[in-house]
């Protein structure tokens, strides 16, 4: 296991570096710089002065190496759009609402999705199945900003049950989390259904029945566990992916999370912040994949003992 984790870590490092180079190059090839967003252009002299101050006058590879050297020391620089704090401080501040939103969204959506998928699989081709499938498809096809808007219109404007938007108090979390949960819910319902159906057609299920095990035990213990194997590989990356927050949900519900920074850092050419955000996602995805591999190995004895990485 240790060797395996080490090997994975090397791959992760590789990906990390590759992503950082690609993103860095892409960012700097986009026309326009951090001082070009204004209504009136900045004079050459002033621009040169500003670029020098931010170190943007140096050759790209020097900038890159400097940045990465900083990263090695957990120094991600200072965001152009929020001077007075470091990128790290900004992230740790803005990440909290995104984490709550994403975390609760998945924590609520995924189990519901799994239940829905199970219900559909166990009642294949019944109305429950069709309803669940339709629900799941809607969740996947109606853009989340439409769902958000609908939730606001119905529950805040029309029924007046919840505040329309905002974040400070938990009663304001309900609608955004509901909007957010739609995605994992739909995804999970779909995946669970097909994984369960796959498992249930395997011969060992017949054997379990023949042994006289109750249907409940068969489903909840054996079928679930076997179906979990394909699910894990989608679950963790998705869970972590939510930590980046949904740009759309956050925008519609005025959640002061990370989402807006993804867009604004690109639009404002906020190189340090953009780089840090990308690296953060990379890092989290890599960790998530690593974790999901490990969890996968833990629940799949074939990998655990058989030892093919």
């Amino acid at each position: 296991m240790l060797g395996y984790v080490l090997r994975r870590l090397i791959s992760v490092a590789f990906t990390f570096i590759a992503v950082s180079i690609i993103i860095f190059l892409m960012m700097h090839s986009v026309p326009g710089g951090p001082f070009d967003g204004n209504d009136m252009p900045v004079s050459e002299a002033v621009r040169a002065r500003m670029m020098e101050r931010l170190g943007l006058d140096q050759p790209l590879h020097v900038q890159y190496l400097k940045y990465m050297w900083g990263v090695l020391h957990f120094d991600f620089g200072v965001p152009f759009q929020s001077p007075g704090e470091t990128v790290l401080e900004l992230l740790s501040r803005a990440w909290v609402p995104s984490l709550i939103l994403g975390g609760l969204g998945v924590a609520i959506g995924a189990p519901l999705g799994i239940l829905l998928g199970m219900a559909a699989a166990l009642n294949r081709n019944s109305w429950i199945d069709y309803l669940a499938s339709a629900f799941a498809t809607l969740g996947l096809t109606v853009p989340v900003f439409v769902i958000s808007m609908l939730l606001i219109l119905v529950f805040a404007v029309w029924l007046n049950w919840f505040p329309a938007s905002g974040w400070p108090s938990p009663d304001r979390w309900v609608l955004p989390i509901a909007a957010y949960a739609a995605i994992p819910l739909a995804t999970y319902a779909r995946y669970t259904r097909s994984a369960m159906l796959d498992t249930m057609s395997r011969p060992f299920v017949t054997v379990l029945r023949a042994k006289g095990l109750s249907e409940r035990r068969i489903v909840f213990q054996h079928v679930m566990r076997n179906s979990a194997i394909p699910l894990v590989t989608v679950f963790l990356p998705m869970f972590i992916g939510t930590a980046t927050g949904s740009i759309f949900v956050e925008a519609m519900f005025r959640v002061p999370g990370l989402g807006a920074y993804f867009v604004s850092s690109i639009e404002n050419r906020d190189y340090p912040l953009e780089m840090a955000l990308m690296l953060m996602i990379t890092f989290m995805y890599c960790i998530a994949y690593l974790l999901s591999d490990i969890v996968y190995a833990l629940i799949n004895p074939r990998i655990r003992v058989g030892g093919q990485a």
Partner: protein, 300 residues
């Protein structure tokens, strides 16, 4: 030698049965799946509508012929109403199918074209090939498509080609992973050994056995790639970097429709419904296709 080989087997099945090709059976299986047939029918209608859009719409999609009636609600004259620029909304929706469907299908086709070979190679050969392909996959799964689209869009000027490229570039990962896993599992199966024993080349084995046995993940991947691409288009439109107007796309109409949702509901409802119906039809059709093409699923 005792003669026991005689007359043991006589046909049980009715003699009139003719030789049928596997495709015929697949077709029969498909036809018996009502939902899939319905999905297929809806999809064909949508595709036909997109192709013959000029024939079934009263005006061109960008013609601002009804400026004085702009924002009018659905009526017998304008089935889906009129948009803020005085364009017949039904026409816009029909033409929007062109963009959304083509983005969806091109992206899905690309993702299958890239995903299958790469996945099969990685799964079949393992080792270094697998390592390299897995790293590429990791690169693509790590960068969120939306952000990549923003950056690439800025680099290339954005628009339709960029969106298709992005959707294709990011859609294949799923297909590739699915195929890889499947091929990896199948590689150990004895029928692969059997083919080797018959002198089949790796290319032949991948083509004929491994990929054929991976139809179900491939179709699942294909079907999933379609809504993903369409949703990507919608999301990018919401951020204002989608296909440039006045080309009608559903995503763009939805994100604009949001602004009008309070009162002129038709501007949001119709494109959203169009998108949802298309994706629903596609996935029903895809599921049916998968079940039909996979004979071992028959019993289910």
């Amino acid at each position: 030698m005792t003669d026991v080989t005689t007359q043991v087997e006589t046909p049980v099945v009715a003699p009139h049965q003719r030789q049928r090709s596997p495709l015929w059976f697949a077709w029969q299986r498909f036809l018996s799946n009502k939902a899939a047939v319905a999905g297929g029918a809806v999809l064909s209608v949508l595709i036909l509508m997109a192709i013959f859009a000029p024939l079934i719409t009263p005006v061109p999609p960008t013609a601002q012929s009804f400026l004085t009636e702009s924002l009018a609600f659905p009526s017998s004259e304008h089935w889906f109403g009129v948009d803020n620029l005085g364009r017949d909304f039904y026409t816009r929706i029909v033409y929007g199918a062109r963009v959304s469907l083509s983005i969806g299908f091109i992206a899905a086709a690309f993702s299958v074209l890239i995903g299958i070979p790469l996945g099969a190679l990685a799964g079949f050969f393992g080792g270094t090939v697998d390592w390299v392909i897995m790293r590429i996959i990791e690169l693509f799964s790590v960068v969120p498509p939306l952000l990549a689209a923003m950056l690439l869009g800025a680099l290339s000027g954005g628009g339709y080609p960029t969106i298709v490229a992005i959707a294709a570039l990011f859609g294949w990962v799923q297909v590739c992973l699915l195929v890889r896993a499947q091929v990896k599992a199948l590689r150990e199966k004895e029928f692969v050994r059997a083919a080797q024993a018959l002198g089949a080349s790796p290319g032949y084995i991948i083509r004929r056995h491994l990929i054929m046995n991976s139809v179900s993940p491939i179709i699942v991947g294909f079907v999933l790639a379609i809504p993903l691409a369409m949703m990507l288009e919608a999301s990018l439109s919401f951020l204002g970097i989608g296909v440039p107007p006045p080309t009608p796309t559903w995503g763009q109409m939805i994100s604009e429709g949001i602004d009008y949702m309070f009162f002129y509901w038709h501007l949001a409802v119709f494109p959203t419904a169009a998108l949802a119906i298309t994706v629903l039809a596609t996935s029903l059709f895809g599921d049916g296709l998968r079940d039909a093409l996979d004979p071992t699923l028959k019993g289910r």
